[in-house]
Amino acid sequence: MRNILAIARRELHGYFSTPLAYVFIVIFLFLTGVFTFYIGGFYERNQADLDPFFRFHPWLYLFLIPAIAMRLWSEERKSGTIELLMTLPITVPEAVLGKFLAAWVFSGIALVLTFPMWITVNYLGAPDNTVIVAGYLGSFLMAGGFLAIGACISALTRSQVIAFVISVAVCFLFILSGFPLVLDFFQAWAPQALVDAIASISFLTHFESLQKGVIDLRDLIYYAVLISFWLYANVVVIEMKKAD
């Protein structure tokens, strides 16, 4: 635990010692604003909730989260520090968890900084704040899922650009699998069980119910399994090819 925290602290500090952290937070806040008020029609809807705010999070995360995750391992490979890190008395799972936690906390900070949105909606009306809390929880869990994917893919390459592009593609698949476009395609010929299975691996399916304020244990388990799976894959990748 001590090693995990030491690595997480170092990594988190690494975010804030480059412009990346500030650029990310500013763009994230700016885009959530644009999506909520202009595209989501926050005022026009005349409803006191944050649905237009949360609805676009999967799409923002699709591009922004891989940008946070891409440096986690690629940079270690490129600068050779992976050799320093892996010859310190720590285990690979400790390093993987530490890095993931740092990125997750960072995305949590960005999310918390959207609080003016929450204040606004409470000022304008009387929203159901438990729904909003569930929405934030869902968004945070979804960010964790995207990050676990991005971290694992970052471990595969020494190029941050390649890590970014591949992560976006894989995350896109995880969003898309809940879309009518994809599901209709399978609906025509595949058994319903398979269609449900494909729909159930989508981020959207599990985010939507949380966004509506339903905290279903199955959704929580989904994100826990998803994150665990990708972190495990991350450990395997590092163990298999430390030096390449």
């Binding site: 170092r10 010692s17 892996m86 310190l88 430390k242 030096a243």
Partner: protein, 256 residues
Amino acid sequence: MTDTNAPPAIEVRQLDKRFGAIHAVRNVSFSVRHGEVLGFLGPNGAGKSTTMKMIAGFLEPTAGTVLVNGHDVLEEPIKVKSSIGYLPEGAPTYGEMTVQRFLNFIAEIRGLDGSARQQRVDHVVRQIHLEGVLHQTIETLSKGFKRRVGVAQTLLHDPGVLIMDEPTDGLDPNQKFEVRSLIKEMAREKAIVISTHILEEVDAVCSRAIIIAAGQLLFDGTPAELRARSADNDIDNAFRLLTTQGDRQQDEVAQA
């Protein structure tokens, strides 16, 4: 000082490493005792760094074993890594961190806390003369300072075994002299392995030298014995003689 009954600090047995078609290290065996400074010599690409990476637990050998203080690197990696100070090739460090933050991070991972950590960091900073750059980010430092930060990092937990891949590369003559003095000073209680291209360094600091070329161990003895290999008692000539013999044999085979 050198207790002959104690297990050697580092014991390398029939170490072998292949990268696909490349046979980087071939059946290399040697051991290092506390109180020894072993100079690791060889042409570029000879397998020096690969061997050091395997001792430090970064690479897994294809065959053979490495024991550090009697512990197998593969079976007890954390125990072995705790007892080693390792300077990787090129002295990689986290460039965006300040020297102080970086050393504190390594010390924390090395299990040092509170005032003990503070004391060790301060001690090493004085030892390596990093006082002036403590609050600078590492990426803004000169090559020599970066290397010294890398060396400092290996000493924080006062390890019994030091493995340093080219510790004096990129240093100016004064800094080289300082690092060499430091190594000699520490040699009494530690087992130290350094790799180098500078043959005078072997004479200056090493009590033993090993030469590997094309992955094979060609020589293991004292610097004086190495010098005696050449007709004119010159260490450079002895090195050339040993490391080019293989090429000549290959040429002869090719011609035949």
